[in-house]
């Protein structure tokens, strides 16, 4: 019996549980970006197909990413059922410049882009439809 090994195993499992729970809790939450922090990224966003005048759910995905598929379904449904909202899905690996400029480090990440071209919210992991709707609702208020 290796006492150090036992302690290390326990510590790793504990750290992993904490990390895993935090991830689960935070996944999918839409974090608002304050107006002052939200710099216009017109060139980057326009090059990805973002158009002014509509709210865009800009989703960054990777290949082989099951949560990205689930996110696509949810965003597409919100866009379909909410007027003035469109959904664009972008492959992160083939748009690394935009990924860097927009600070994307995980997939799926959804940026909520207001009609004036500012990023007003970000969510990583699979969002709940209501969280997206709430974030969009604030924009229309």
């Amino acid at each position: 019996m290796d006492a150090i090994g036992l302690v290390v195993a326990g510590a790793v499992l504990l750290a992993a549980v904490v990390f895993g729970v935090l991830r689960k809790v935070r996944d999918g939450r839409v974090r608002s970006v304050s107006r002052s922090a939200s710099m216009p990224m017109d060139g980057q966003l326009a090059s990805l197909g973002v158009r002014p005048g509509v709210v865009t759910l800009l989703q960054f995905s990777s290949a082989f990413c099951a949560p990205c598929r689930a996110t696509r379904v949810i965003c597409a449904e919100v866009a379909r059922t909410t007027p003035g909202v469109s959904h664009i899905e972008v492959d992160a690996e083939s748009h690394l410049q935009a990924v860097r400029a927009l600070g994307i480090h995980r997939t799926p990440t959804v940026l909520i882009v207001a009609g004036d071209g500012r990023v007003v919210g970000r969510a990583h992991g699979v969002p709940k439809p209501q969280q997206i709707r709430d974030a969009i609702g604030v924009l229309h208020a």
């Binding site: 090994g5 790793v12 750290a15 992993a16 549980v17 895993g20 689960k24 290949a63 099951a66 690394l96």
Partner: protein
């Protein structure tokens, strides 16, 4: 395409094995786990734990509602293989710290996958792409 519950079952068995590696400080067990990782990387369906899943577990479950791609699973097995080999070499050559650290990393990844469905390889893929293609 694979039944996603298979790799998670594998990760659960792997978690138990790696805990045993650490608790017993066993380089031979780490080596055995490395062989399992290697076989599973070559053929996810024919790896030892996968066979247990297919013949003992899957028949008792309803058919899978979705399938997942094999490539990220195989990538994860390759990463596991590397860590398990390093751990085995560490323990067997007397460099116990190396053995412990490598096994600890592999345990963390396996447990996160088994308990939370978290795929460390998937998460690292984008970060790796970003770093490896730094604009000049």
């Amino acid at each position: 395409m694979l039944d996603p519950r298979g790799p998670r079952f594998n990760a659960a068995i792997t978690t138990v094995v790696l805990i045993a590696v650490l608790v017993f400080g066993s380089g031979w067990l780490a080596l055995a786990q490395a062989v399992v990782f290697g076989l599973t990387a070559l053929s996810p369906r024919l790896g030892p734990y996968s066979l247990v899943y297919r013949y003992l577990i899957a028949p008792r479950l309803s058919p899978p509602t979705q399938l997942e791609a094999a490539a990220p699973v195989r990538f994860a097995q390759v990463v596991g293989f590397v860590f398990a080999v390093v751990s085995a070499v560490g323990y067997l050559s007397g460099a116990v710290v190396v053995g412990i650290v490598a096994a600890a990393f592999a345990l963390g990844a396996a447990f996160l996958n088994a308990a939370f469905g978290f795929c460390l390889g998937c998460e690292m893929y984008l970060l790796a792409s970003r770093v490896m293609s730094k604009p000049s």
